[in-house]
């Protein structure tokens, strides 16, 4: 990880103690105990997340500025919107500095004590058991994956497309509830095609990240997804349309002639 980028972040966040917890592809994620505008009590254990999108030197400055600003604003806007949809868990928005690519939000998830204290992303949560088939396919995991699927279904019902559904972008909370994070590629859309592609991205992410149990995991996720649509007739028609598109996108993927 580049110290230069951390210094850059610090220059935008003067006097805020920062602790790096991850460097994703797009952003560096810090924790801090300092709230941006509320007074911090000395004995408070509450931590906040600061997500910083550093400039990417590899891309054209104009493109970089547009993307950073656009994605930061889009993510903040979506986080704000999601707080009004109680059935979708996501970190609450605290503050935004769009020009510098900075978002403050609530911290979700916990450290997995049986997995090197890594954050409880779905990826780490599942990988703990990768070498133990019995543990990898328990009822506990089934229930959690159904909850994850259900929440994605709820997001789609609300026309929220996550855009980057991987097991790293889903958090399992201490109460074993699902929580969605990382909305940098998210957008609003009612199109079944967009929802189908969203599901396809997830399907492939599970397949490549958890190949041993992918089939079962995807089945559980999809069972939950269908549940997320509820039972009323209108939703079921919408669900059917999305599943049809999803199947089409999958076929397109597998049958792509590779010749363009």
């Amino acid at each position: 990880m580049s110290d230069e980028l951390i210094q850059l972040a610090q220059s935008h966040l003067q006097n805020i103690p920062l602790q790096v917890i991850s460097q994703g592809a797009e952003a560096i994620v810090f924790t801090t105990k300092t709230h941006p505008y509320l007074p911090t009590s000395k004995d408070s254990h509450t931590e906040y997340i600061i997500k910083y999108r550093p400039p990417k030197k590899y891309r054209h400055p104009q493109l970089d500025a547009t993307l950073t600003k656009h994605r930061t604003i889009a993510e903040a806007r979506l986080l704000q919107r999601l707080t009004n949809i109680p059935e979708i868990q996501s970190p609450g928005l605290i503050a935004l500095d769009a020009r510098n690519g900075i978002i403050w939000m609530e911290k979700v998830g916990y450290e997995l004590i049986d997995y090197d204290d890594k954050i409880s992303s779905l990826k780490n949560w599942l990988w703990r058991y990768n070498d133990n088939q019995e543990k990898a396919l328990t009822e506990e995991i089934k229930i959690a994956l159904e909850k994850v699927g259900c929440m994605i279904g709820k997001a789609h019902v609300n026309d929220v497309i996550h855009g980057d559904l991987t097991s790293s972008n889903i958090i399992i909370t201490e109460a074993q509830e699902a929580c969605l994070i990382d909305f940098g590629l998210s957008y609003q859309s009612a199109l079944p095609e967009d929802k189908g592609v969203d599901l396809y991205v997830l399907d492939r992410a599970i397949l490549s990240t958890h190949p041993k149990y992918a089939e079962q995991y995807n089945e559980w996720l999809m069972a939950g997804y269908e549940r997320g649509y509820g039972k009323d007739k209108k939703s079921l028609i919408k669900l059917k349309e999305v599943l049809k598109r999803y199947e089409e996108v999958r076929l397109r993927g597998r049958k792509r002639s590779m010749l363009g």
Partner: protein
């Protein structure tokens, strides 16, 4: 640790394979030698010959399968002869014949399979069918020494981001519509610039002279990307530019003079597409947790792409690996190399009924027996 030498023939001190590639417009023949034991800095595969002939189409045209297949049919014997001479080998020293099984264009693939089958009968040698993409990956790893990289495979027909796990090269991301090389080729056709030496190369040269960045759609979806919308968008800009559609304020000033040049369009197209490629590669690196990136495939020769990727990788304190046009562009040696790995694991060729080709053949379908 996988044992690569369970089938070494008595009295032999090395393995030799000839590889035939013709899945698109390039016909390649290569001969490779492996020595026993695992590969290392002191035990490298030896390239004995690696030659190629490209079917070139007139400007503004794509290559037709029929003419491409004809090119391959009528050159394959000459290329094989030249390759054998270059290698200095006797036919009796060759262990197996490897050919591209797919993916690719049907007719060109078929003409090369027939050549391989005929040779196998003439010389009485086993046949091995190779997945074209696996050929690129394995040759890239061998040439660069990258041991477990995220692989960006970018060519006329493919755009994939790949990483190894549990004996398969898994596809983490890919294009949801057209391939990057195809996108560049088609824009070259719109501009009616020559196809020689390759349309992508000519776009690259024009892009070097461009400087004004025009915003284009940017379509990354997770680790997947989409390019057909970008192509349609820039095709329209080029059309308006050529036809003096002065109402288009993106490319014309208020006084009617053009704001941008063809070079600027090429520059903007490359900047946008490559930024998307580098972004999904970085995502894959973060997701898989590796520090190595290997670029393979014809578009991998593009210097701008290599430089952008390098900038990203160095920021992550990682390592970038790329090959030059001898190995980047479709070639026979990579087919020989990957086929020989397969042969060393099984000690025999494919059943004759399996020595066919297929247009659709996904990278993750192949069981990688030669890696842990």
């Amino acid at each position: 640790m996988v044992h690569l030498d369970l089938h070494l023939k008595e009295g032999k001190t090395s393995y030799v394979a000839i590889g035939l590639e013709g899945s698109a417009n390039k016909l390649g023949v290569g001969i490779i030698r492996h020595f026993p034991g695992p590969f290392s800095t002191t035990n490298r595969a030896e390239v004995l010959s690696n030659i190629r002939d490209t079917y070139i189409t007139p400007p503004g045209e794509g290559f037709l399968p029929r003419d491409t297949a004809r090119h391959h049919r009528n050159w394959v014997v000459r290329l094989i002869k030249q390759s054998i001479i270059e290698s200095g080998l006797k036919i009796s020293e060759i262990d197996c014949i490897c050919f591209t099984k797919g993916p690719g264009m049907g007719a060109p693939l078929q003409s090369v399979v027939i050549a391989a089958r005929t040779l196998a009968q003439l010389w009485d040698l086993p046949l091995i069918g190779v997945n074209h993409c696996i050929g690129h990956i394995e040759m890239g790893r061998e040439i660069t020494g990258a041991d477990n990289p995220v692989v960006l495979y970018v060519s006329g027909g493919n755009t994939q981001i790949i990483a190894y796990s549990e004996q398969r090269y898994r596809i983490f991301g890919e294009t949801l519509d057209i391939a990057i090389g195809n996108c560049l080729d088609r824009f070259a056709r719109t501009l009616k610039i020559p196809n020689e030496p390759s349309p992508g190369y000519n776009i690259e040269q024009l892009a070097k002279k461009g400087s004004k960045y025009i915003e284009l759609p940017y379509t990354v979806k997770g680790m997947d990307m989409s390019m057909s919308g970008i192509l349609a968008h820039i095709d329209n800009l080029a059309y308006d530019l050529f036809n003096n559609k002065k109402h288009n304020k993106t490319i014309f000033n208020d006084d009617g003079t053009p704001k941008v040049t063809v070079e600027d369009l090429c520059f903007s197209l490359q900047e946008t597409l490559f930024a998307m490629l580098v972004e999904i590669t970085e995502r894959a690196m973060a997701h898989v947790g590796t520090q190595q990136v290997l670029i393979v495939g014809g578009v991998g020769c593009n210097e701008r792409l290599q430089r952008m990727m390098e900038t990203m990788v160095l920021d992550r304190r990682g390592f970038i690996f790329a090959t030059d046009e001898r190995f980047c562009i479709d070639n026979g040696i990579m087919i020989a190399h990957a086929g020989l790995l397969e042969y060393r694991m099984s000690g025999k060729g494919f059943d004759y009924s399996d020595t066919v080709c297929t247009q659709k053949f996904r990278t993750d379908e192949v069981l990688i027996k030669w890696r842990d």
